[in-house]
């Protein structure tokens, strides 16, 4: 095994791309998208705002306000493109890094922080947003998503499920089981793999010998590799895959070829295992810069627009910070809340004992 210092510097084969890193629109025989200038400006705004949310969260962790944070830096286009392809009726199952998809599902960003601040394990109602809780154990949610998709089938509903996971997760048994389940039951699901090249310190070569999208053929459904830094292509490819799922054509694996620009989490130090030139090469493919270039070149936006989005981002960041600091710590008896949905004698017993113990300090 060698470490390829130029990893990803060249475009890999079979890559669906509709917008080059330089902001040029390109055609693709199977995928196209017709976006109004307004829609492109809206995508640009999404990309900038979620990057700002992420930046603020990293800063909050550095200042001790969050225990940890998993940055999405570099993966904004994959998340916004796929997230904006969803209809309200579709259901999304994230990992713990899908802050951009959460944004598309109208989950208040401050609710994402609860998990990382340690005030709860997940602070939103999945049914309200059709956006499941973050799942930290790698790959487990792929099975939940397939089961949910089987429920959609039984309900005969016009909806699909999308499940997010990374390149590392493709080695998990659960992910492979979920491929089998989805395939044999023809479940309405899109497997959206953000291949960000790194599973903490382990490069893609430690997970696979073949391109990930080609795994799908062994399970009997289509696999597509899309430029994960191209929001147009991610939107187009995901839309088509979701529509196929909704119309009874079964699952699709989408490999969004992207790059984790930051550390795995705020506790990680990527300088120990990857070379700086790799990051530099990927910076040239930044998912936001290419949309900005496209808007500029085509005169779909002026400086005033970019300034207003930047100002909105700053406002969002400041607001997020203020509300993070205001998140109340849970009371000690919250330990016993929601462990069971129905009354449970042991919970009531231990809650009462602990309450009495705590009251002993009040006297």
């Amino acid at each position: 095994m060698t470490t390829d210092a130029s990893r990803g510097a060249e475009a890999p084969p079979d890559l669906v791309q509709l917008l080059t890193p330089e902001g040029e629109r390109v055609e693709h025989p199977d995928y196209d998208i017709d976006l109004t200038p307004e829609e492109v400006r809206s995508l640009y705004r999404d990309l900038v705002l979620v990057r700002r949310i992420d930046l603020e969260a990293v800063a909050l962790q550095r200042q001790g306000e969050l225990g940890i944070w998993a940055s999405l830096l570099g993966q904004e286009a994959a998340q916004i493109g796929s997230g904006r392809a969803l209809t309200d009726a579709d259901m999304a199952f994230p990992t713990y890094r899908e802050h951009g998809v959460a944004w598309c599902r109208d989950v208040d960003p401050v609710k994402l922080l609860g998990l990382f601040r340690g005030v709860n394990h997940g602070g939103w109602d999945p049914k309200e947003h059709n956006f499941h809780l973050y799942t930290i154990v790698i790959g487990s949610q792929t099975l939940h998503a397939v089961g949910y998709a089987m429920g959609i089938q039984r309900d005969d509903a016009n909806a699909a499920t999308i499940v997010y996971f990374g390149d590392g997760a493709t080695s998990q048994g659960d992910v492979n089981e979920s491929f089998i389940w989805a395939s044999v039951f023809n479940a309405p699901i899109v497997f959206f793999c953000q291949n960000n090249q790194w599973a903490i310190s382990e490069p893609l070569e430690r997970q696979t010998r073949i391109p990930l999208y080609r795994r799908a053929s062994g399970f009997g459904f289509p696999g597509i590799r899309v430029d994960g830094n191209d929001v147009f292509a991610c939107l187009a490819v995901t839309r088509k895959a979701l529509e196929a799922a909704r119309t009874g054509q079964g699952p699709t694996l989408v490999e969004a070829f992207t790059y984790r620009m930051g550390a795995h989490t705020t506790t990680d130090d990527p300088t120990r295992y990857r070379v700086a030139s790799e990051l530099e090469a990927w910076k040239l493919k930044d998912p936001i810069e290419r949309v900005k270039a496209y808007l500029f070149k085509n005169e779909h936006a002026d400086q005033e627009f970019f300034d207003s989005v930047a100002a909105e981002a700053d406002q969002l960041g400041a607001d997020l910070r203020r509300r993070c600091l205001a998140l109340p710590d849970p009371g000690p008896l919250a330990i016993f809340d929601h462990v069971y949905s129905e009354p449970h004698a042991l919970m009531e017993q231990e809650r009462a004992q602990f309450a009495a113990y705590l009251e002993g300090f009040q006297a």
Partner: protein, 326 residues
């Protein structure tokens, strides 16, 4: 009143649950056409269709993981794990996802999933087919753990488990599948609550505490002891988590002696938790330490040795005798 086997009682209970609620699904390996390797789901796919009685791929983590997803969509899946020793590939989905997701959601999510596990030995099976893994699950907060011991309970408890909004690990004593008894399928008036223990024989000298396959063994031991003039009370715990503490403690306070009987290894078995609780609650009533009769703290042996491994009438009576040695 109908006479039926424990296996048939489970089948009838699931059939009733499926008739009562269209969201109830059965899923597992070979549960459809074959009706399960123990025939517990016999005929259900024929009557309810392949969408409700689902023959799954051969992957236990997949069964539980997709059941969670179906529950998130509003269904009530009843999963069959074919044998006790095959539950471990699903352990992550059960322990990390099924048990914890409702709490992680601050109560927004309910996961009414039943995991049926044929458990215990005594059928001459090859390895991994005779285990008693209940303590792994009673140790996991968020799960309810129950065990039926007779056809009447099998019929009611499976329906109660399916109606529960919490995940339930449902142990079935496989060596008792074919034993028959009367079951009243006409009304729910007589049903014991799912988490209540039941005194199945009254006595005054020693309390025997058992569940699942060992209840019958304890009843036989109590009958034999009666011939020697000893009066043993037998309690069928039925639910391990939550535990019906008042039923257990009331009995032990009266008898002053307790013997816990289970097939699982004694070391760190469910009996350890039970003994600790009895000691804490009944300390001044005890005439002897709480004793345990269980499997040895070894892997389950080859079937030629299982009669030595499993607690039987004599091992139970030996423990009873020892409680009088203090």
């Amino acid at each position: 009143m109908t006479t039926m086997s424990l296996s048939k009682a489970l089948n009838e209970g699931m059939r009733k649950a499926m008739e009562d609620d269209p969201k109830v699904l059965i899923m597992g390996e070979d549960v459809g056409k074959l009706g399960g390797v123990f025939r517990v789901t016999d005929g259900l796919q024929k009557d309810f269709g392949e969408d409700r009685v689902i023959d799954t791929p051969l992957a236990e983590s997949g069964i539980i993981g997709t059941a969670i997803g179906l529950a998130l969509r509003g269904y009530r899946p009843v999963c069959e794990i074919q044998f006790d020793g095959f539950v471990f590939p699903a352990a992550d989905q059960i322990i990390t996802q099924l048990a914890k997701m409702p709490m992680r959601s601050l109560g927004a999510i309910k996961l009414p999933v039943v995991v049926r596990i044929p458990c215990g030995g005594g059928i001459g099976a090859v390895e991994h087919h005779s285990e008693s893994p209940e303590a792994y699950f009673t140790h996991t907060a968020g799960l309810r753990v129950v065990a039926c011991s007779n056809p009447a309970d099998a019929y009611t408890m499976i329906q109660q488990a399916i109606r529960s909004d919490d995940p339930v690990i449902f142990f079935e004593p496989k060596r008792r599948y074919w034993e028959k008894a009367d079951v009243d399928t006409s009304s729910a008036d007589w049903w014991t609550p799912l988490h209540a223990a039941r005194t199945v024989r009254q006595g005054s000298d020693v309390t025997l505490l058992a569940y699942g396959p060992m209840v019958k063994t304890c009843l036989e031991a109590a009958a034999a002891a009666a011939e020697d003039g000893r009066s043993l009370e037998v309690i069928d715990l039925r639910s391990l988590n939550p535990l019906d503490e008042p039923a257990v403690m009331d009995s032990v306070r009266r008898t002053g002696r307790a013997v816990i009987v289970h097939e699982a290894p004694v070391n760190s078995g469910f009996g350890a938790e039970l003994a600790a609780r009895i000691t804490e609650r009944c300390f001044y009533h005890l005439e002897a330490p709480v004793l345990r009769a269980g499997g040895f703290s070894t892997p389950y042996p080859p079937s030629k040795l299982e009669e030595h491994y499993l607690p039987d009438l004599d091992r139970v009576l030996d423990a009873v005798d020892r409680t009088f040695g203090y």
